[in-house]
């Protein structure tokens, strides 16, 4: 039965099959974007885009995502380095645990956070230190929870790709362990750091599930761009939803372009 798949015929069939799969998927995405364009009218689009509510959502999203990305990177650099280099018993378990937030639904993570802030310890933090529940810091916390695992994963592969002998040579040249890390490993990881930072930031901009659970989606208070889409559609304001979708697409494309440039230079994922 598979006789036809042997030899040059097989190669042709295989080529056609894989390339058509690629083309179909690309057409699918193009179709979605085209339907958005078909649905929207330019003047209502512009007025929706520059409405006070959407401008607020853009500002809030960019601010929270930037803070969340910075915090995540600061946490992820030492964690990823430890997973990549250190050898200790139970490392595999810790490693798998750190993968969980990537596979678990963000809604579940957000709900779990909300539950945490209802425990005595959690509510003590919420009441006395920083108010997270239904507030802007809650958005940042939700985003950090979702994206820090991603940042660790991306940075781990960066550190894995750096030959530990660079650090060893640096140490024979008089660097202490921390000096070797800052003088050699970080510069070697630079492209990886930038790419991971942008990817986690873009992921934070798009975060919805955990955010809406912990911080809610109150207009002009905790309304991020994804929340804005949700709220617009919930109130049947499709024009507004489409405007926000385009803003999100624009941000994503910009992030991908920057990463492409970096990859084109040196970095490999």
């Amino acid at each position: 039965m598979f006789r036809i798949l042997k030899g040059a015929g097989g190669e042709r069939v295989f080529r056609v099959a894989t390339i058509s799969a690629m083309v179909l998927l690309a057409l699918f995405f193009l179709g979605i974007i085209a339907s958005l364009l078909a649905y929207t009218k330019w003047d209502t689009f512009v007025s929706a885009l520059f409405s006070e509510e959407i401008l607020f959502a853009i500002r809030l999203s960019l601010m929270t995502a930037t803070i969340a990305a910075v915090i995540s990177m600061l946490i992820a650099v030492p964690v990823a380095y430890a997973i990549s280099r250190a050898r200790f018993p139970g490392k595999d378990i810790v490693d798998s645990l750190l993968d969980l937030p990537i596979v678990i639904s963000p809604v579940a993570l957000g709900a779990a956070l909300l539950v945490f802030f209802n425990t005595p310890l959690g509510s003590a933090i919420d009441d006395n230190i920083i108010k997270f529940v239904f507030s802007v810091p809650g958005i940042v916390l939700a985003q950090v929870t979702v994206i820090s695992a991603l940042a660790v994963r991306l940075l781990k592969s960066t550190f894995d790709g750096i030959d530990p002998r660079y650090e060893q040579v640096a140490r024979t040249l008089g660097c202490s362990k921390p000096e070797a890390f800052f003088r050699v490993t970080l510069p070697l990881a630079r492209d990886g750091l930038i790419a991971s930072g942008i990817l986690t930031w873009a992921r934070a901009v798009g975060e919805f599930g955990a955010t809406v659970m912990l911080a809610g989606a109150t207009a002009m208070k905790t309304e991020t761009l994804p929340s804005a889409i949700f709220l617009s559609l919930a109130s049947a304001d499709v024009e507004k939803a489409i405007a926000v979708i385009f803003v999100l697409i624009l941000i994503a494309v910009a992030a991908l372009l920057v990463i492409r440039r970096i990859i084109g230079r040196r970095y490999r994922i």
Partner: protein, 354 residues
């Protein structure tokens, strides 16, 4: 002086077993062994890159076993050089100097001086990835020498280089060694490289030191079967007379054989040549053949990838070793008359009688 006492370490596939070595001040010490013998791991132990529970390392009498690599003041040149790709050649050489508390102008001065010495001054502002193997090796050396280390550790410094570059660097390494008087440990799997460069050689096999000796001694009196196998039982001939032919070439007589060798200086008492440097041919080699002889095959013995052939020449027995695939293309049998060439450049000569 470097002293290693009872060092044992298991690291993945490598297993160092009870290593005892002592390297004298100013010595050019070569550690010789096949791939996987544990040479690199041993060197890394000296550099402080591995922790080991059994054994001690002393530098000039002081116990340094627990010192961190940065506290040992060693010049270390790893295999494949490991130059830093994110900075240019100048900053690579200056890397260790910047850890010392010296002024920028002094750093620049010392880098320039070393670059000059290593002949890489014209490369100072180049990126490292555009350099050739030989250039990289010189820069890695300059980088290691820059902070004025106590000892120099070289891991297969000539391994990845083409023959001509390797030959130049071999001379240069000896020159640097003389100039700095720096105790140097050099790792290699290449017997000829070890014999040519070393003051003393240590043969390591399966993580064990099998023999430590001067190159000639190692060649003529290998201890134990393992070392003898690795060295490959050289042909050693006593010389009855010798006569200079000028231009660094001498004619020596060993019984009825007359040989031309590259040598300048005193009378030659012995010559040695490895079996793999004696070529065998069924027909008379064309052209002028230096050190060409005719002989009779007395035995043929396969040995792994090679075949060992014993040939009687002028009442002497010479051992030749040729790759199996070449042997299979020839029609060699015991009792057959063959032609052989002793490669002139590969003949080692000894003035002392040992």
């Amino acid at each position: 002086m470097i002293k290693i006492e009872g060092l044992s370490l298991r690291l993945g596939e490598f297993n160092l077993k009870d290593i005892d070595l002592s390297i004298r001040d100013g010595e050019y010490f070569v550690i010789l062994g096949p791939t996987g013998a544990g040479k690199t791991v041993l060197l890394e132990c000296l550099a402080g890159l591995h922790h080991f529970k059994k054994g001690k390392v002393y530098f000039n009498g002081a116990d340094v076993t627990r010192l961190m690599p940065e506290e040992r003041n060693l010049g270390y040149v790893p295999q494949d050089y490991v130059l830093f790709p994110f900075i240019d050649v100048f900053n690579n050489i200056a890397f260790g100097l910047k850890q010392l508390k010296i002024s920028t102008s002094e750093v620049r001065e010392r880098v320039n001086k070393l670059a000059d010495l290593m002949g890489v001054s014209h490369l100072l502002h180049r990126e490292t990835r555009t350099l050739s193997g030989g250039e990289k090796q010189r820069i890695a050396l300059a980088r290691a020498l820059a902070p004025s280390p106590r000892f120099l550790l070289l891991d297969e410094p000539l391994g990845a280089l083409d023959l001509r570059t390797a030959k130049n660097l071999r001379l240069e390494l000896r020159r640097i060694h003389r100039q700095f008087g720096l105790t140097t440990i050099h790792i290699t799997h290449d017997l000829m490289e070890a014999l040519e460069m070393a003051d003393r050689v240590a043969v390591i096999q399966d993580g064990r030191v099998e023999q430590v000796a001067e190159p000639e001694k190692m060649l003529f009196y290998p201890e134990g079967e393992k070392v003898a196998d690795f060295i490959g039982s050289p042909n050693i001939l006593d010389c009855d007379y010798c006569r200079s032919l000028g231009q660094g070439v001498m004619e020596v007589g060993c019984g009825d054989m007359k040989l031309t060798v590259a040598h300048e200086g005193g009378d030659i008492r012995k010559i040695a040549i490895l079996p793999r440097h004696i070529y065998v041919s069924e027909t008379r080699p064309p052209g002028l053949s230096v050190n060409g002889f005719q002989g009779l095959i007395t035995s043929i013995e396969p040995a792994g990838n090679t075949v060992k052939i014993l040939i009687d020449v002028a009442e002497k027995s010479l051992l030749s070793e040729i790759p199996s695939y070449i042997f299979e293309d020839m029609n060699l049998t015991v009792g057959k008359e063959v032609f052989l060439i002793l490669r002139m450049r590969r003949i080692r000569v000894y003035e002392s009688s040992l």
